[in-house]
């Protein structure tokens, strides 16, 4: 079965978006030969990232390596800047009035904050699933198809919708009611619909900001199973408050922490998940993962 969608001319969606007549130089794609070909996704390298809301520094000096085709979990107490950080990775943070980010975020070899880079292009390649499921008030079919369509997809839409819904483990439940509204699904189904529409535009990286925190345990389990499948094709980054979830599904874990109130959040420790949960190096990490606070 075809892993990347291909239109009539044999171009993948990634190649189509490269040809899209957007303003600005194509710095993000030059030299980026691996995008759109084969199974491996790109990893991300973050260097000295700080995020601000106006003059308030919310996140400071994060250096982290998000490895390709792996699941990285970001844990930490509330208010440590995890959500702010993850929104910097697909340039959604700057959408808020007065918010900005400084530093270097590399997708593959290219800095997505580089001069002349179009954030709209970035957001197709780095998808995001939010905490509260936010399907569009359109039909299930349209929910999945819309993103692909505006990004110039000219291939078999029915096939793309089915493939995306299958990858999100939702196809069997909705295949008979594709024309019904996406809002009529349960919370867990809505979240999987959001995952499906994110997959339909063929990102390299999928960011998830507490995707299961608003869902029941059964839906949570289904989404965790989906993530295990997703990492074969994509790089996954997940913010979660649920430490057992982080321990279950992730390969790497980053712990965010704030020392005093009003300080910016920082990445306190980062390591392979097994090591983070059994033998963390720093005291605060150990206190958090053993449940002494949080």
């Amino acid at each position: 079965m075809d892993r990347r969608s291909v239109n009539e001319e044999g171009l993948t969606l990634s190649e189509i978006s490269r040809e899209r007549p957007e303003a600005g130089p194509e710095t993000i794609e030059r030299g980026d030969v691996s995008s759109g070909q084969g199974d491996s996704a790109l990893g991300m390298k973050i260097e000295n990232l700080s995020a601000f809301y106006g003059s308030f520094k919310a996140v400071t000096d994060v250096n982290i390596d998000l490895r390709a085709n792996k699941v990285t979990a970001l844990i930490g107490p509330s208010g440590c800047g995890k959500s702010t950080f993850i929104r910097c990775l697909n340039r959604m943070h700057e959408v808020i009035t007065g918010a900005r980010a400084e530093g270097c975020v590399k997708l593959g070899e290219q800095d997505i904050y580089g001069k002349g880079v179009d954030p709209v292009r970035i957001r197709r390649r780095i998808g995001m699933v939010f905490q509260k499921p936010n399907p569009f008030s359109k039909s299930i079919y349209e929910n999945v198809a819309w993103g692909a369509r505006i990004n110039g997809y000219k291939g078999d839409m029915d096939e793309l919708v089915e493939r995306s819904l299958r990858q999100a483990a939702l196809w069997d439940e909705v295949k008979d009611r594709l024309k019904q509204s996406g809002m009529g699904l349960s919370g867990g189904q809505q979240q999987r619909l959001v995952i499906a529409r994110t997959l339909a535009v063929e990102p390299e990286v999928i960011l998830m900001d507490e995707p299961a925190s608003a869902l029941d345990p059964v839906s949570t389990q289904k989404i965790e199973d989906t993530m295990a499948e997703l990492k074969k094709r994509y790089t996954v980054v997940i913010v979660t408050h649920n430490m057992q979830q982080a321990a279950r599904i992730s390969d790497y874990t980053g712990f965010f922490y704030i020392e005093n109130m009003g300080d910016p959040g920082r990445l306190w420790e980062f390591d392979e998940t097994s090591k983070m949960f059994s033998a963390p190096e720093r005291k605060e990490t150990e206190d958090y993962v053993t449940g002494r606070f949080g």
Binding site: S17, R123, R124, R125, K132, N134, S137, N151, V194
Partner: protein
């Protein structure tokens, strides 16, 4: 717990003696019932007065209605007077005003809500749009006279339908803008975020999601605004709508009359025949309003289920 007399009173769980909490017998339930009756009366007063007015007008007007009435022109003889040119004039005005004001109003609402930065200038514009919605319509008539009839006379043809329509458009534009903004504001930001996270431009999110979602609310505001425009008399008189006209309008540059103006002219005539004609004219005006509202509400409901 200290009572009014100052003595200490303790309550058992559930307060069986009613020592502290007053049970809802007597006064509390009575007031509940009194208010529900008062509020019902408030609703009915408005509706009953309206119903009486409509009944009275219909009583006088319906007998006078006939195909002849609708297709005849005005005449010095009351019995021969018809509403044809005024009816056509109002329909033309309705069409032209809709074409001008609805796209402009929605466009302005989208810009102000989605694109404009939160500067002092934007806030100034916001405040003034609310003020403009309350300006008396005759002022708009004077504005229309100065700009559309005189200044732009060569283009608009002076005292023409298009001048009248443009004047009415200015009049109802603030209302449509406010309705559009409220409708857009009511859409949660999660929709915008969801769209942008898929690599959509701002316009794609607006066109694909926000406008379809905002359309029902905006159309409701637009319907109300257009209904008001159809009933306006003073600004149209100022920009040159005729009270007595012997031909039907033949295009946007034509001279014209309108239903409220015709009714106003007939009412001010002494002959009782004209009073009856005026009543019939009011019935026709009501019918036009109900018809155009129904079409608009139908369109709104269609968009509501689709989006």
């Amino acid at each position: 717990m200290v009572t009014r007399s100052g003595a200490q009173k303790s309550t058992q769980k559930g307060d069986p003696e009613g020592a502290v909490f007053k049970p809802p017998t007597g006064r509390r339930h009575v007031w509940d019932r009194v208010f529900s009756v008062l509020l019902l009366a408030a609703t009915f007063v408005g509706l009953v007065v309206l119903a009486i007015l409509l009944a009275d007008v219909s009583w006088d007007g319906v007998p006078r209605l006939s195909w002849n009435f609708i297709t005849s022109f005005s005449s010095v003889i009351p019995e021969n007077s018809g509403i044809y040119p005024a009816l056509l004039g109002s329909l033309w005005l309705l069409l032209l005003t809709t074409i001008v004001s609805v796209p402009l109003g929605i466009g302005a609402a989208v810009y102000l809500e989605e694109y404009a930065a939160d500067t002092w200038l934007t806030r100034l514009v916001e405040i003034n749009i609310s003020n403009l919605a309350g300006v008396p319509s005759i002022i708009y008539g004077l504005l229309g006279l100065g700009i559309f009839v005189n200044l732009l006379g060569p283009i608009t043809g002076g005292q023409s339908l298009i001048s009248g329509a443009l004047t009415l458009s200015l009049l109802i534009l603030p209302v449509i803008i406010i309705a559009g903004r409220e409708a857009l504001r009511s859409i949660s930001d999660s929709v915008r975020e969801g769209g942008m996270a898929l690599g959509a431009t701002k316009w794609e999110v607006i066109w694909g999601h926000l406008l379809p979602m905002a359309l029902p609310g905006t159309l409701t505001g637009a319907i109300l605004a257009l209904s008001r425009a159809i009933g306006e008399t003073a600004p149209l008189i100022v920009v040159g709508a005729a009270t007595y006209i012997t031909f039907a309008p033949d295009g946007p540059l034509s001279r014209y009359s309108a239903l409220p103006i015709q009714i106003y002219y007939w009412i001010s005539q002494p002959q009782p025949g004209f009073q009856a004609a005026a009543a019939a004219g009011i019935v026709v005006l009501m019918a036009v309003l109900v018809l155009s509202n129904s079409v608009a509400i139908y369109l709104r409901n269609r968009y509501q289920t689709r989006a």
